[in-house]
Amino acid sequence: MPQLTSLLYQLVLAASFAAMVAYLVYFVRQNNRARNLGRFLLLLSGILQTLYILCRYVEAGHTPITSQHEAVVFFAWSTSWAYLSFRWRYTVKNFGTFVAVLIVLLLLVSLLSERHIVPLLPALQSYWLPIHAGVSIIAYGFLSLAFCGGLMYLLLERELKSRRLGFFFSRLPSLEALDQLNSHCLSAGFVFLTLGIVTGSVWASQAWGAYWQWDPKETWSLITWALYLVQIHQRFTVGWRGKRAAVMAIIGFASILFTLWGVGYLLGGLHGYAT
């Protein structure tokens, strides 16, 4: 079993990296064959990631989301599938390139973190673990798509504003399409993020008898949630869109990353991964 898990992990790395290379070739050369190859490889990578997580679940006996390695692989998995589900309904030119790069970066982080399986802390032994952590990380998946869209928006907007059309002008979709993408991913991500916080607090009340403890991770999740709440609210009331929405998507994503890692390293607390 461990050999199979390890083999799957290597295949995930290989497929994702190859997908990224294919997408980058498409991005630079605008060669359709490279794009089709990239799409196929990304789908393959998504399937392999699912298999890897399943294998690890069987091996560990609990949802593999408790160590840093597992959380990041889960993050990459949810980004991949959020993209693939998105891709199934909408086409946004060259979006895949940015997402593929992000997935590879996440997988690189997972590669650098400790990979052995750690036994589950007694406090985490609950059916709430997959629900709470899973839902939260699915939210991260969608919000990371909003981040990619925001980045693309800023790159294109800068060229349009400066009136020097160059590399990105012909390669990125319209500003409107990118803004729509931001809106969709934000809405989907926000729903899951809210669910993640609600399930977490229900679990906390069962495990520790209090809904909210102001543990650093909880605080930062709330900050992240509030950031996205402001975005959604402003978008639908006064029309925060375009550049401001793109910048906010990037700030929100930074806040997610900090919640995921920074808190654990800098602030500690109940959510710290088992050591």
Binding site: G166, S174, L175, G239, R241, K243
Partner: protein, 445 residues
């Protein structure tokens, strides 16, 4: 090489001034000239293309016939003295004709490289030619090839995506900002000719509505009627900004007519939906500081010219790529065409029969271990003789055709090739043509 020739002759915008072209253009449509063309002695297959920029004849002519004179007479009639048409006419044959046809189909020969219209015109002309029975096996093949080359160029290069004009650049930018233009509105400030042209282009791209603001209202009303739009007075300008998305300004005003502080409050009312200002007036109409507002884009005439320039550079790069594809496809066609020739077909036929005989011998001989050397040789001789006898009639059939110089040697070659399942020489990977490959490309040139 098959004895008949592919011939292409005509006039186009490069060789011939419009005054001459318009006299040649076939105003009455295709049917009549096609019928005449079909009747010209020595013409086996024909195809005629007539657009505002070119009149071209593509033909397959009988071997040894001097048809050029008749064709020139057909094209020019007695409208011009002989020394004139020599100056205007171009005439290609064989490989050059194929190359020229592909250049036309891919729009590389057009006035505006990258335009998409020419392919449609080519196809329409083909529909006529085939309906009137003018095209035959060779031109059918050649024209279909031309269509597929054009398609290949469209998909493999970005040649069609960068047309070069100010109006086009404006449309291109609007699309990059708004995505679809279907529900967007255009406001024309001033009723200049350039603005009109740009608006026309935008309407052609499906813009939802046009509003015209002009100092003299009557002119505004006229222009608005042309675009099925609405005229407003100059004083309503700022209130209109809440409704429209694209603003084209071209007034003769000597000062700026729209300032940043007038536009900024509008953005709130618009819920920050983007505004795209195009200032084609000189001196400028719009405050350059508009750019400082979020979701506002401003291009003046110089900016648009820069976009046009970069489009031109891009298009030239793509045209080089497209020309390479045309060369490649010309070569492929030539190879297929030469594959029709009699001699290689005879060669291939012999090789194939030989190979069958040898393969069967190799299968059978191991099962007859007690054969003596003499018996073995007799057997081999017999197999070779069967092969030669089988081949005798098809070879006679092929050779008789080419010796007699009759007009259908390519048909006979095609028949024999199909009958014996010889691969078409057109694919570079075809096993029957081992010499095919990139090395040959250089020889061909």
């Amino acid at each position: 090489m098959p004895p008949e020739r592919i011939l292409l002759l005509g006039v186009n915008h490069k060789t011939t001034p419009v005054a001459v072209r318009e006299k040649l253009a076939l105003s009455a449509g295709y049917p009549e000239p096609l019928t005449t063309l079909k009747g010209i002695a020595g013409v086996r297959e024909s195809y005629l293309l007539s657009t505002c920029n070119r009149v071209e004849l593509l033909l397959v002519v009988e071997p040894g016939e001097e048809v050029e004179g008749r064709l020139i007479a057909f094209l020019f009639g007695d409208r011009f003295p002989a020394e004139d048409y020599r100056r205007y006419l171009f005439l290609h044959s064989g490989r050059d004709a194929v190359h020229h046809l592909f250049m036309v189909a891919t729009s590389l020969d057009s006035m505006v490289v990258g335009e998409a219209q020419i392919l449609g015109q080519l196809k329409e002309a083909y529909r006529f030619a085939s309906r009137f029975g003018c095209t035959g096996p060779l031109l059918n093949k050649l024209l279909h090839k031309a269509f597929s080359v054009a398609k290949r160029v469209r998909t493999e290069t970005a040649i069609g995506s960068s047309a070069v004009s100010i109006s086009y650049a404006a449309v291109q930018l609007a699309k990059k900002i708004f995505g679809s233009l279907a529900d967007k509105k255009v406001l024309l400030i001033g009723a200049g000719e350039m603005a009109e042209l740009a608006a026309e282009h935008l309407v052609g791209q499906g813009v939802g509505g046009v509003v015209v603001a002009n100092r003299t209202l009557s002119r505004a009303v006229d222009l608005a009627r042309r675009f099925n739009g609405r005229a407003v007075s100059f004083e309503e300008l700022v209130t209109q900004l809440a409704e429209v998305d694209i603003i084209i300004s071209s007034t003769g005003a000597s000062e700026i007519i729209l300032f940043r502080d007038q536009v900024k409050p509008v953005m709130r009312a618009r819920m920050n939906r983007p505004l795209f200002f195009i200032d084609i007036a000189v001196p400028r109409d719009l405050d350059p500081q508009l750019l400082e507002i979020d979701n506002v884009y401003l291009y003046d005439i110089d900016d648009l010219s820069n976009v046009v320039e970069s489009n031109r550079a891009e298009r030239d790069r793509e045209a080089t790529k497209a020309a390479r594809i045309v060369d490649e496809e010309t070569l492929k066609f030539q190879r297929w065409y030469e594959g029709l020739a009699v001699t290689p077909t005879i060669q291939e036929l012999k090789t194939k029969i030989d190979a069958i005989g040898r393969a069967e011998l190799e299968r059978t001989l191991p099962r007859l271990p007690e054969l003596t050397e003499a018996e073995l040789q007799a057997l081999e001789k017999m197999v070779a003789a069967i092969g030669a006898k089988v081949l005798h009639d098809p070879l006679m059939f092929l050779k008789s055709a080419s010796c007699a110089g009759r007009d259908n040697s390519d048909l006979k070659v095609t028949t024999v090739r199909e009958l014996f399942g010889l691969t078409d020489g057109q694919e570079p990977a075809a096993p029957a043509a081992p010499a095919a490959g990139d090395g040959e490309c250089r020889h061909g040139d």
